[in-house]
Amino acid sequence: MKTERHITEKESLSIIQSMLSKTQLGVRDNGFMFLLWGWLVFLAAMIHYIPFMLMDGNTIGGLAWPVLMSIGGVVSTIYGIRKGKQEQVRTYAHQMLRLTTLCMGVGIAFTITFGILFTTWPVTYGFLMLVYGTWLFMSGGILEFRPLQVGGVVNWVLGAITFFVPEPHELPMIAFAVLAGYIIPGYMLKAKFKKEAA
């Protein structure tokens, strides 16, 4: 498109269609955040659980949670800022994904805070998995990526089961939930992103 010239009505529609098709990239995600948080939560859950089971209820492994979640928070923030700078276009789907993630963050904060104060860890983790599951299912819909939605459903089911599980056996439940909901879909998303970028 170098200089202005008279365009016909059909050319007008063709221009519109052509430009719209160029924006229909869908929302692409490289899976980084799913893998980051998936592995951090998986490791925290297992580091907490294993010493507890092998060393007569030793809770030293519980320190993994504040340490690993803090690392996740810092890395996520840095990554988010850098990624934001690289984006040339912000789509409505991106905005939906951000808002959904924000809602999940608020949900997690509320669940942990009030869970610690008023109930047991299995109940808290059960609700956490319900929150994870909702976020994964919605993200999967926005990204049009079915494995994330399957992971979401797995989290819902495990979350419901966790309410009936005695402490500390909710920990391997949550490890499995993030494996199915974050880690496996995260690797699949990463592979899809690489394939589309090639």
Binding site: E9, S12, R90, T91
Partner: protein
């Protein structure tokens, strides 16, 4: 029957229509994105973006990123209305032909 002359002259231009078509689909886009997708020269695109801004159809935000100038464009509600009206008029014109 609507004639061509009734189509919005601001939108009835190859590059301006292309820019509006891109912006109607996204929340906002940088100048470099618009340039890449329209394959226009920077100078020509800049002129057309200015015309759209003067018509009130887009907002243009100038800022800096890593000390480089950054221009971000987004369609206004007036721009969305004008675009939809243009498309309706176009479709009516084509169907009646």
């Amino acid at each position: 029957m609507k004639s061509f002359q009734e189509l919005d002259p601001v939108l009835h231009s190859q590059l301006r229509l292309a820019v509006m078509s891109l912006l109607i689909a996204v929340k906002e886009a940088e100048f470099t994105y618009l340039k890449e997708k329209t394959e226009a020269t920077a100078g020509n695109l800049s002129v057309q973006v200015q015309k759209l801004k003067e018509a009130g159809y887009i907002d243009v935000e100038k800022s800096f990123r890593d000390n480089y100038p950054l221009t971000t464009c987004r369609i206004t509600s007036a721009g969305k209305k004008a675009f939809n009206k243009y498309v309706d008029a176009l479709q009516q014109y084509i169907h009646k032909k």
